[in-house]
Symmetry: C2
Subunit: 337 residues, 2 copies
Amino acid sequence: MTIKDIARLSGYSIGTVSRVINRHPDVSEEAREKILKIIEQENYQPNANAKHLKQSRNTAVTVIVKGTRNIFLNSILEKIQQYLRKYQEEASVVFVEESENEVRQAIQLETERNPKGFIFLGGALEHFRTDFHMIKAPSVLISGWAKDLGFDNLSSFSTDDFEGGRQAMEMLVNNGHRNVLIVGGFNSKEPEQVSSQRLNGALSVLKEHDIPFERDRQYIECRFSMQDSYEKLMDRLPVEQDITAIFGLSDLVAVGAMRAVHDSGRTVPDDISIIGYDGIGYTDYTVPRLSTVRQNVDELVAQGVDDLLYRIQYPREAVHRQISAAAVSKESIISIA
Amino acid sequence: MTIKDIARLSGYSIGTVSRVINRHPDVSEEAREKILKIIEQENYQPNANAKHLKQSRNTAVTVIVKGTRNIFLNSILEKIQQYLRKYQEEASVVFVEESENEVRQAIQLETERNPKGFIFLGGALEHFRTDFHMIKAPSVLISGWAKDLGFDNLSSFSTDDFEGGRQAMEMLVNNGHRNVLIVGGFNSKEPEQVSSQRLNGALSVLKEHDIPFERDRQYIECRFSMQDSYEKLMDRLPVEQDITAIFGLSDLVAVGAMRAVHDSGRTVPDDISIIGYDGIGYTDYTVPRLSTVRQNVDELVAQGVDDLLYRIQYPREAVHRQISAAAVSKESIISIA
DNA sequence: CTGAAAGCGCTTACAG
DNA sequence: CTGAAAGCGCTTACAG
C-alpha cells in the first residue's frame, strides 16, 4: 500500500494525496475528506524512509539520557518510550556519561541522523548555554529548566525544584533537625541547575527559621550516584558528629548516604534522619523506608512529549513549565523536637 | 557528500561505489581500494533513508526490553546502546510490560518500521515458541536461551543459569542452611526459562546433599520485581518459621525479600540469610549488603551485539552461547553450621 | 485547487 | 568486473 494506491483509489493524483497527508492548506475540503477516508479505510502508513529521503529527516525522536546507572532517569525513559509508542512514534535512545557533553553529542547525532526531535533527560545547563545554538531540531529538556537560556526550539519541563527542596527541608526542620548535611550535585556554576534549585529551596527554609548553615562545610558536592555519595560521606561523616539529618538531592544519593551512615557506625533514623529526592520505587523497600520528594514523572513526560510532537508538526515557540512535587514522609526520619 | 561525489572523485560509476560499500564480491581489488580510500578521506556516510528506501529496511536496531522498572535490564540496555554507538548504529527501544507478548509486539514493529534487527532483553520462551516464526529480521535474545527453539534467525546469549543457580545454593548449603525458600519467576511451563534454569541448578545441589525440598511449599512464584516478591513473602513468611535462608532468583526479588523479612519481624542475616541473582550495583548499598550471583553483562552484550551486527551483514546461522557467572559473598549470609 | 514531472540518494538486474 | 538505467515512495516547485 503506497501513496500511488491511495491516489488510484481516490481518483486524485499522488501530489494531492501527499498534500493531504502533510496538512498542506491548498487542498479542497472535498479532496481532503475523500482522501482521508480512503487512507483510514486502507490503514495506509506512509513510508518513513521515502518521506525522510526527501526531507532528509530521520523518522525517530532521539532521547538523550544524561547519566548511566540512574534509576530515576531510566524510569522516565520507560515512560517516554511508552508514551511515544501510543502516537506510533519511534524512540531512538542514547546514553551519555555524566562527564560527557550531551549537547555536543546531540549536535553530532543531528549531522549523522537528523532526528526530527530531541528529548534530553537531565543535563548540564552550561553545555546548553554554550552549545545548544547549533541544534536545529525541536527539542525538549525534561527534568531541567531552560527558560532563561531563551532558545526558541528548546522547551523545558521540570519539577518545581526550589519548592521541592523547601518541602524536604521543612520536613526535617519540623521534626526538630537543625544540624543537617545536604549532599549532591555540583552547584558552583549554574544557579538554574536542578541541584542548585533544590539546594536553594532548602537553604531558604533554614534561613526563615534562623538556622545557621555553613555552606562550605554542610553542603557536599557529588554525582547523583550511590557510589559517589557513599564515598564522599565515608570521608566526611567521621568529622561530622553533631549532624542529625541528611538531605540527599537525589534518591540515589540518599541511598548511598544510608549505607555510609551505617558503615560509620551510626543508625538511620535513630542517629541520623535522611530524606531523598525523586521518588524512585526503591525508596519503599530500603530498611528503613526512605522519605523523599516525589516528582510527578507521568506529568513531566506527558507534557514534555506532547509539546515536542506538537512543535515537530507546527512550529511555535518553546514553552517552559514547572510541575509541583510532594514530600513523602517515611521511616527514615524521626522527630527529635 | 553523496555516492555521486564519491563516484566522480574515484572515477568509477555510482554502481561500483555502491557495490564496494555493500561488500559485494564482484568488484576488482583495485576499484575497492581506491574507492574505500576516498570514502575514508571524505568521511562519507551513506544516507540511511535512501539506502533503506530501496531495501525498505529501517536504519535502526530495535531493542525490546521485556519488563519495566527492571534495573538489571536497564543496565544491560545502557551497555547495548553504548556498544551499538561505537559502530555508529542507532538503537530504537521499546519497553514491553511483563504481562504483554513481546514477540507479537515485535511482529507489529516489523510491519510498521521494518528494523534491520531485533535485540530482545529477557522474554518469555513460550511467546517465542508460538510466534517468533513470523519474524524475519535477524534477532538475538540476551538473557534467555533459545537454542532449543531452533529458529535460524534467533541467536541467544545467556548466563549459564543452571550453574549460577548451583553456585547460589552451594553458598547457602556450605554455610549450613538446609531449610530454604526459593522465590521468583513462573516455572511451571518452560524448563528453558532462565528462572527454571536457576531453580533447577539450585535443586540439583540440594539433591546432592540429600537435603529435602518440598517444591510446592518452598518454591514461590512471583514476578521479577521488588513489589511482587515483597507481597508474596509477607503472606508466606509468617507460616515459614523454620526457614533460615532465601534464594531470590533475581536481585530485585531478593531486595523485596529483605524488606519482607524485616517487616515480618525477623532480621537479615541473623534470622534469615539471603542471596540474589544478577549483580545489580545496588547490592553493594543495601543494609546488609546483598550476596548475589553476578552475571557478566559486558560479555553478554559484546557477544550478542557482535553476533547480530554480523548476521545483519552476512546471513549465517544463529549461534547460542552461555557465559559463566560467579557467586559473590556479602553480608547477607551467615554461617549456621 | 490540481496534475505532471523532476528529483531526493541509493540498489540492482541487465547487458556487455 | 563495470556502467547505464530503472526504480524504491515520497515531496514540491512549476504550470495551469
